[in-house]
């Protein structure tokens, strides 16, 4: 009877542990998926930072746009940060026939030579003042190129200067009626893909999942040693590094700084892939760091 009770108790503890672990994993996966679905073109991250502020009551947005949250008190004073912005596009011009032209924002640091080419013939989302507007980037019809392109013809890479965005409008006035103006952020339409054993593919999946890991670590309510300033930073893809720099300047100095980051496969592509198991480890690592272990 005693053995049976012990076994029952162990089962209860194990299943509770397992439930907690699976639940925490589910929370992380949900956050990673949610963050990867969002668009935060560098310098124009407000929609995502609004979402983070709603997620973390008590957080503040500084003048640069960074979202910060202070945990604990006293010393040491440390900073744990993750950059949430991404290379993206803005509307640069609206043509009389209703097509939009783009300019890239924050692309100086990308390594993938076909970054812009990923737009060609694909859906994009234009973030207008009246909400998200679906569009597509024009591509030549396969059929109409037949017989017109000889073997060995020049085949230069598609760049943002080749991108005509079609939102279905026939005039500039119709575009304006959709709430689209010059400077509206534009990105490939985000459709995160889960595949294999908890692999997540999406544009900027590495950054977003690292931010999700930081968010999950905060949500786990760690027993913080001293003070930890948590910062979801903006404008990290400009040469001035304005977002992270301003956090350090305004809220520092810090005794230590940790930046949440994850290894990613197919980096800078629309299918940048992270293993959510790596994110599990990152959450544990951040919690231990916050607790001074």
């Amino acid at each position: 009877m005693r053995h049976r009770r012990t076994a029952a108790l162990l089962t209860l503890i194990l299943s509770a542990f397992l439930t907690v672990r699976l639940s925490a994993q589910g929370d992380l996966d949900r956050l990673a998926l949610r963050f990867s679905s969002m668009t935060a073109v560098t310098g124009l991250e407000q929609a995502m930072t609004d979402s983070l502020r709603a997620l973390f009551p008590g957080s503040v947005r500084d003048r640069a746009g960074n979202v910060t949250l202070t945990l604990g008190q006293g010393s040491p004073k440390r900073l744990c940060t993750c950059p949430l912005d991404e290379v993206g596009y803005v509307v640069g011009n609206i043509l009389p026939d209703g097509f939009l032209l783009l300019r890239r924002v924050g692309g100086a640091r990308t390594a993938y030579p076909l970054l812009d080419q990923q737009l060609e013939g694909h859906r994009v989302t234009v973030f207008g003042t009246r909400g998200a507007v679906p569009g597509v980037v024009a591509v030549k019809s396969t059929h109409l190129t037949r017989g017109r392109v000889g073997p060995g013809a020049p085949d230069p890479v598609f760049t943002v200067d080749n991108a005509d965005v079609d939102v279905g409008a026939s005039s500039a006035a119709e575009v304006e009626g959709l709430g689209i103006a010059v400077l509206a952020p534009v990105s490939l339409t985000k459709r995160p893909q889960l595949y294999g054993e908890r692999l997540l593919a999406a544009p900027s999946a590495g950054r977003r999942t690292a931010c999700a890991a930081l968010a999950a670590a905060v949500q786990s309510k760690p027993n913080v040693k001293g003070t930890v300033v948590v910062a979801f930073t903006v404008q990290s893809l400009y040469p001035t590094d304005a977002g992270p720099g301003s956090v350090k300047a305004v809220l520092g100095p810090f005794d230590a700084i940790k930046t949440a980051a994850l290894p990613a496969r197919y980096a800078d592509t629309a299918v940048e892939t992270v293993a959510l198991a790596d994110a599990d480890r990152l959450v544990r690592e951040i919690v231990q760091w916050m607790e001074g272990k």
Partner: protein, 364 residues
């Protein structure tokens, strides 16, 4: 993982609800066209694996319609009786890939099914369609040879680390591969999606059948939804052979690839979207006798249907009937960005196309 799946389902549901929103100005006809078309567009059917699309068409047929499937896989509906027999044909299949092998590292080797720019699939989400269901993956980005159109042959990563791992996920050579797709409404009556070619034709035939005045038919009309058009008009070839010299005319209901787009040359194919169906009077596979084009125009005028006349590139299913003495009078609708993941149409043209099919069946 279940929680994540729920979250994904919720996201898909929300985005689907947004994508299917009907504008307040939509007529009932445009709304019906959208409902039928969206159901077909969001069903997968690479050439040779059209089963799901064929079943979707069968579900959307009017209740009175009796359908049959031939050995090639074409779906047939016969209406009316007597000569001259007229055939109306749209194709079920879409472009995509087929798995040809699995490497030791678990990645899948592919071959194209149909003509398109493989570069448009590179570094994008992938779906492998297996007997056990769809397996998610990604099309690998290239790591060298950075040009616009000529990637090294594409492969897919399904997250397996070995051939055995991929097989354990249900993947085997012969499985077809696409990318996830969604019907999405654009401004006004325009919409985007992948495989409008030729789900619009398939939808228009359904819409025409739903409104067909069967009592008005003076002869038999055979509606066919064909297979394997994109890899050489194979389904239509089998249908044409089985009908031989019996039909008088065939109307291929297929895309009119339009130059109404910023990157196209305006030499020909200039049929703007939103201005109605198109008499596809000349393409790479057939030429319609001018007298038949004139007759088609008269049919359109008599019914007040918007019809454009043009010449474009590509082949059509009707062309394989012509060696049997059958006249091919193809009818299309203008499409931007053909065979890309982001084709664009105007729903008004779908309505116009359905009306043309109905008029041809009832009055010509």
């Amino acid at each position: 993982m279940r929680a994540v799946r729920d979250c994904v389902v919720a996201l898909v549901f929300l985005s689907a609800a947004a994508s299917l929103r009907l504008s307040a100005q939509d007529s009932a006809r445009v709304a019906e066209a959208q409902t039928v078309l969206a159901a077909l567009v969001e069903t997968y059917g690479v050439s040779g694996a059209e089963g799901p699309v064929r079943e979707a068409v069968k579900r959307l047929l009017p209740t009175w319609a009796v359908s049959s499937t031939d050995t090639a896989g074409n779906l047939w509906v016969r209406v009316g009786q007597g000569n001259p027999v007229v055939v109306i044909v749209a194709h079920l299949d879409e472009i995509g890939f087929r798995v040809t092998g699995i490497r030791d590292d678990g990645t899948l080797e592919l071959e194209n099914r149909g003509g398109f720019f493989p570069s448009l699939f590179e570094a994008k989400p992938a779906l492998v369609h297996t007997d056990k269901g769809d397996v998610a993956g990604v099309f690998l980005p290239r790591d060298s040879g950075f040009t616009r159109r000529t990637p090294s042959s594409l492969r897919v990563d399904v997250g397996a680390k070995s051939r055995a791992g991929a097989v354990a996920r249900g993947v085997s050579p012969g499985a077809t591969v696409t990318m996830p797709k969604q019907y999405v409404r654009l401004s006004g009556t325009r919409a985007t999606g992948r495989s409008f070619d030729d789900r619009v034709g398939s939808a228009a035939q359904l819409l025409a059948l739903r409104r067909l005045d069967r009592a008005a038919l003076k002869h038999q009309v055979i509606f066919i939804w064909s297979v394997r058009e994109e890899i050489g008009l194979e389904g239509a070839t089998a249908a044409a052979a089985s009908l031989g010299t019996t039909p008088r005319r065939v109307h291929a209901i297929d895309t009119f690839v339009s130059a109404d787009a910023p990157l196209e040359l305006p030499n020909f194919a200039v049929a703007p979207i939103g201005r109605g169906a198109v008499a596809r009077a000349l393409d790479n596979s057939s030429v319609t006798p001018p007298a038949y084009v004139d007759s088609l125009v008269q049919v359109a005028r008599a019914r007040g249907i918007a019809l454009q006349i043009g010449t474009t590139n590509g082949g059509n299913d009707g062309s394989v009937f012509t060696p049997y003495g059958v006249v091919d009078v193809p009818i299309g609708w203008p499409l931007r960005y053909s065979h890309s993941p982001a084709e664009v149409i105007d729903l008004k043209d779908v309505v116009s196309l359905a009306d043309m099919i109905r008029a041809v069946a009832e009055t010509w």
